[in-house]
Amino acid sequence: MVGRARKVKTDSMLPSESSQKAGAAGAIASSADPRRGRWRVSSRLLIPLGTTVGLLALWELLARAGALPAEVPPFTEVVSWLAGEFDDGTFWDMLGQTLWHWFAGLLIGGAAGIVVGGTIGMVPFVHRLLNVPLEFLRPIPAIVYLPLLILVMGSRSVTAIILASLGALWPMLFQSVYGVRAIDAQVVETGKVFGLRRRQILWHIMLPSVLPYLATGVRIASSLSLIVAVSAELVGGIPGLGTEMAAAAQNGRYTATYGLLLVSGVLGLLLNAALEGSEKRLLRWHVSHRVVNA
């Protein structure tokens, strides 16, 4: 990367005859790139858009023609049901409930994961002490604890939040451990040699190298928190998107069932996209950071 970048830059800056030619070629080549880029963008957009529209149209047609099971309403009906719901305050309340479970779970579980994981990463003794029990507990899905929590706490928001926290805990915990482990001791020592203070080392050296790991952790924790929150609502009858879906399906309100499924997918998609976007930004910074050092 560095080599290539440097080559282009020097070529276009040098006055000698041969390099002028190379510089000109480079300039033309780079002006040709956007054109290719445009073509790529258009096919990148048109092909997926086309198939998506096609798939939705197929759903519509098959449902109208009666080729799908009677429980599957046409796409347009689902959409118009959704449009009606958007004006309804209870719909947003319900969605807000699920988002609250997701967010509180991510926050509590994430914070606990960072604290525990960071400690394990920094203190070898704590690692030896907790490694075996944590490796045992980690693969146990949060949903396993649901019956006990419903028994003790009841079908309330707090149950969903505790479960969602448990879901978010593990990825954050282990990513924190990896992140702390990945801190380059040599860079820290360099900082010490140059007389940086403890806080400066923590802020300028340790945190930047841990951040990419935490970003990955947040992304995984977020999707787990959402799955667990919806599952808890679904099984435990805790108010939210999950309960609503279960109720709609049980009462034979199939348009609502599919509408809510659509909503849950879009919700997952949006949360994913938001976090992936911010992670990419962090990672790009991370990579560029590494290239400069290389």
Binding site: R6, M13, I28
Partner: protein, 275 residues
């Protein structure tokens, strides 16, 4: 007899009409049967592009490549290759033996004959008995010998080598050079070896094709009239060796003139090095 003819070969990346990057321009040379030809040129000067064209790993913008009079459009069965980065050209999930055997499955149907060929090629590169090892259990030089064994087991008429010794230390390098010469004598294949090391080119070759910097063109084809068998100390001590070397070095110097360094360029270099 002429084996491979390269005539007016050109390769431009991107759209030539709209001025893509021209990597090589009107390159012509030939390789005779059993001949050892080295291609030298400045770093980043389109040598690898040339080899990839010869192996038909990508298309060309103009010219012809003829092998025994036939135009080369697909990777031909008469050509085998050894690539620069051994760690990326050997499959870490296969043992040394299976790495060598894989391409032979399409050329040798008989299982026994195939495994004999594998063992022969391993002995030929001095790795007899190491077939059950995995590439990553071997040193860099040994891994590159596995790559050579894979190539000769394929029984090529032309062996193409792309900077094959660039990633190993100097000691190992000399050993691999001599191994290549010995193997070439045993197998009888022509060798086309790309390098940026002028000593290596003169030491190994019957002829050296000197390329200019980008876009690469043939500056001169130098006949190397040094006695064989070659010897790292004796050959390199000959006055003629020094003459050839100086001559090629002068050619390369002329094409990659150290250019005046501007202030802006210094600044860029400083940023890129992070100081």
């Amino acid at each position: 007899m002429t084996k491979l003819v390269v005539n007016q070969l050109a390769k431009t990346y991107g759209d030539p009409a709209k001025g893509g990057v021209e990597a090589i321009r009107e390159i012509s040379f030939d390789v005779r049967e059993g001949e050892f030809v080295c291609i030298v040129g400045p770093s980043g000067g389109g040598k690898t592009t040339l080899l990839r064209c010869l192996c038909a790993l990508h298309g060309r913008s103009g010219g012809r490549i003829e092998l025994d009079g036939r135009d080369v459009t697909q990777p031909p069965p008469e050509i085998a290759a050894v690539f620069q980065d051994y760690s990326r050209s050997l499959m870490p999930w296969y043992s040394v033996r299976r790495n060598i055997e894989l391409p032979l499955k399409n050329t040798i149907a008989d299982k026994k004959e195939r495994s004999e060929r594998v063992e022969w090629s391993l002995r030929e590169v001095g790795l007899g008995g190491l077939g059950d090892r995995y590439p990553w259990q071997l040193s860099g030089g040994m891994q590159q010998r596995v790559a050579i064994a894979r190539a000769i087991a394929y029984r090529p008429e032309i062996l193409i080598m792309d900077e094959p010794f660039a990633s190993v230390d100097a000691q190992t390098r000399a050993g691999l050079e001599d191994l290549t010469l010995a193997v070439r004598d045993d197998v009888g294949a022509a060798v086309l070896l790309v390098t940026h090391d002028i000593d290596e080119a003169v030491y190994l070759a019957d002829r050296v094709v000197v390329l200019s910097s980008r876009p690469a063109t043939v500056m001169e084809i130098v006949d190397i009239d040094l006695p064989r068998p070659r010897d790292q100390i004796k050959t390199k001590g000959l006055p003629r060796f020094a003459e050839y070397r100086t001559h090629v070095l002068e050619l390369i110097r002329a094409t990659s003139q150290p250019e005046p360094v501007s202030e802006a360029q210094q600044a860029v270099a400083a940023t890129l090095h992070g100081n």
